[in-house]
């Protein structure tokens, strides 16, 4: 009997092949496997037969929304910046999407990065993706040469190594605390929607840090990022980071030094996260992409928590809902404002 992911893979190939064959899409964006265990390759199927290379498993950790806008652009006829848009409908692209990916697609639509009509979304309700680093920890960083996946376990093999690991134990933190595993926009579904998950302590990681002293928080933050090599994998894996010139690349003004110095690295991480405030869906791509094992996701998670607490919104839940930092309410909380807290203190 095939595993759940094997079934999904089959159905995904079928649907992608159909979309490509029928000409509904010019390409289908999914994953294929590569040469290293537990690392999947985002893959663009351009011909119906490519669909057979598509694969779905628990290691599809990078958010495919990240690839969509440039992929869609690549199918537009070339034109100069001020030429009018081409007439008639433009080619579409199909894509597989879990809850968070689809929410990032919503944000991309809201932020004018792509048109909803141009993507055919095959929804997959997510069962959570595996954190390669957790697996490595579980085997004490022994070398792994193959991993076989069952529905609820992973069989890990390497030189002198064979171990079965409980799948849920090595699921990424963001997936373990994920509330919305279902796609919010899709054209077709593979499998059933599972509904929102009831997670009591979805912000536990954040709260643990909040409860530290300022000094300890700084200690945590600096030690978390001190290994950063400024490779920008976190930024580049993020579907929100589409600026042609990122603030770190700017030299006029020079917001932040470009090299590996603690203050500049800190400011890079602060601003990168801050720029995601109200937009981040906690897809975890940043953390998954980081070669140095930095848990920068906690930063965006904190912002997600505050935006939810302060303004009651979560990113990408619907195309109509305004992005929280480009809107306001008259009675937004303002206890943080000194002159307002003066009032409070005197009370």
């Amino acid at each position: 009997m095939p595993t759940k992911n094997e079934s999904i893979t089959q159905e995904l190939r079928q649907k992608a092949r159909h979309l490509l064959e029928s000409g509904q899409v010019a390409a289908f964006l999914g994953y294929t496997s590569g040469s290293v265990p537990m690392v999947m390759k985002p893959f663009v199927a351009r011909k119906p037969e490519d669909a057979e290379r598509l694969e779905w498993n628990s290691f599809c950790v990078l958010n495919l929304a990240n690839y969509l806008p440039p992929l869609l652009r690549s199918f537009e006829p070339p034109r100069r910046p001020n030429d009018p848009p081409p007439e008639g409908p433009l080619p579409k692209v199909g894509v597989a999407a879990t809850g968070c990916w689809s929410r990032n697609m919503v944000v991309q639509v809201q932020e004018n990065q792509m048109e909803r009509e141009r993507v055919v979304i095959i929804g997959i309700s997510s069962r959570g993706m595996v954190d390669r680093k957790k697996v490595l920890n579980a085997v004490n960083h022994a070398e792994i040469t193959s991993v076989k996946e069952e529905d609820n376990s992973l069989l890990v093999k390497g030189p002198g190594l064979e171990e079965e690991i409980n799948r849920w134990d090595v699921i990424r933190d963001n997936c373990q605390t994920c509330v919305h595993p279902d796609p919010v926009i899709f054209d077709e579904m593979i499998g059933q929607l599972q509904g929102d998950r009831d997670i009591q302590d979805r912000f536990r990681q954040v709260e643990e840090i909040e409860n530290l002293s300022a000094q300890d928080r700084w200690q945590w933050f600096t030690s978390e990022i001190d290994s950063c090599i400024r490779c920008y994998a976190c930024r580049n894996a993020c579907p929100l980071c589409y600026c042609p010139t990122c603030f770190v690349d700017d030299s006029r003004p020079q917001w932040v030094g470009k090299s590996r110095e603690p203050v500049d690295t800190a400011i890079f991480h602060i601003l990168r996260a801050y720029h995601c405030a109200g937009r981040c869906t906690d897809c975890g791509s940043c953390e998954s992409a980081c070669p140095m094992g930095i848990r920068m996701r906690i930063l965006t998670k904190k912002l997600q928590k505050d935006v939810l607490d302060l303004y009651g919104t979560e990113a990408g839940m619907s195309i109509q809902q305004p992005l929280p930092l480009s809107t306001y309410k008259m009675d937004d909380p303002q206890d943080f404002v000194l002159t307002e807290s003066f009032k409070g203190e005197k009370k």
Binding site: H141, E143, I229, A233, R235, N236, D249
Partner: protein
């Protein structure tokens, strides 16, 4: 032959006059370069540390000079040398692939005073690899798990100590201070030989791609169709470049701070949007596919055409840590197939 205690004692003595570094396991479980003090020994884990040793030759950032940004002060616009590191550095536990990268990088940086100064000032004590990892392929690139290129001293790790072989004169000088060296026992000699024999065999079969690639026609490689699929999955991050021991591209920037300024050199990556960006705004490598291609063409074609060897030591870092599993070994095979 030094037992671990004597080795430690030697290092401890050396640390008065040298800054000593070696790979240690971090709290996150990965192997990384760390300052070793008071005779600390590196962790004897197999494989290469996360970062390559290029940090020591090609610091991130390197201050080229400093200046005052206030034209009317006495030191107005006068450039001065930054205070530089004084003590010689000794790196311990360098894997032969990393050591070889210094030799390769030295080729384009022949005339670079900063690089050469750092090279003069840095001593390498290498650890021979007794077993290749699944991502290793030094043998393809002209290296060897027990190779000596770039090292001052090569060590073989045995259960009860290390066998140290001087490679350079200055390595020999350094070793002289080790003092209490003992002669090798037969068993130990056998063990070293066994490593020399078996280690290369644990790696993929030699292909000698460099000469074959040099022979290929440039444009045929450049126009190969597989680049498209490769770039489809690439996210243009700098992981491969920054972890790579032989990626040596840099950018330069002036920084000012509170009325003072400095010019720094820091790592660049052909993956980044500013790479080869012209002042006009035009970038000959404006698209992802061109950047991805550049990285591999540089390593596997342009560099060999210019200097002979590949600009790759087969350490496997890029293979291990690429978030989208772009594998240079695959690329090599694709290119060789053309």
């Amino acid at each position: 032959m030094l037992d671990n205690k004597d080795f430690s004692a030697w290092l401890s003595r050396l640390s008065d006059s040298h800054d000593i570094y070696g790979p240690k396991k971090t709290r996150k479980g990965m192997l990384e370069w760390a300052r070793l003090e008071g005779g600390q020994l590196p962790d004897p884990e197999p494989g290469v540390p996360k970062s390559s040793i290029k940090t020591f030759y090609f610091p991130q950032p390197e201050t080229l000079f400093e200046f005052s940004a206030r034209p009317k002060k006495e030191d107005a616009f006068r450039l001065h040398e930054p205070s530089r590191h004084q003590n010689p550095r000794l790196l311990i536990g360098v894997r032969p692939c990393d050591a070889r990268s210094v030799v390769l990088n030295s080729m384009p940086y022949q005339e670079d005073p900063y690089f050469q100064e750092n090279r003069r000032n840095t001593f390498l004590l290498g650890y021979a690899c007794s077993q290749g990892c699944s991502t290793c392929f030094c043998t393809w690139t002209g290296g060897s798990p027990v190779g000596q290129d770039g090292l001052d001293i090569l060590a073989f790790l045995l259960e009860d100590g290390l066998v140290l072989e001087p490679v350079t004169e200055r390595g020999e000088e350094l070793l002289e201070k080790a003092g209490s060296a003992r002669d090798l026992t037969r068993a130990q000699e056998q063990k070293v030989d066994e490593i020399r024999q078996k280690a290369p065999a644990s790696l993929p079969e030699e292909m000698e791609p460099a000469p074959r690639l040099r022979e290929k026609e440039l444009m045929a490689l450049y126009d190969a169709p597989f680049w498209q699929e490769l770039s489809d999955s690439c996210i243009n991050c700098g992981t491969c470049t920054f972890l790579c021991p032989t990626c040596y591209c840099f950018d330069i920037q002036d920084e000012t701070l509170r009325g003072r300024g400095r010019r720094i050199r820091y790592w660049d990556s052909c993956m980044f949007p500013l790479f080869t960006l012209h002042a006009s705004g035009h970038n000959p490598r404006g698209e992802k596919i061109k950047r991805v291609r550049n990285r591999f063409m540089h390593k596997l074609k342009y560099f060999p055409d210019r200097f002979g060897p590949l600009s790759c030591v087969g350490c496997g870092r890029c293979v291990r840590d690429c978030p989208v599993n772009i594998d240079i070994r695959q690329v090599m095979k694709e290119l060789l197939a053309i």
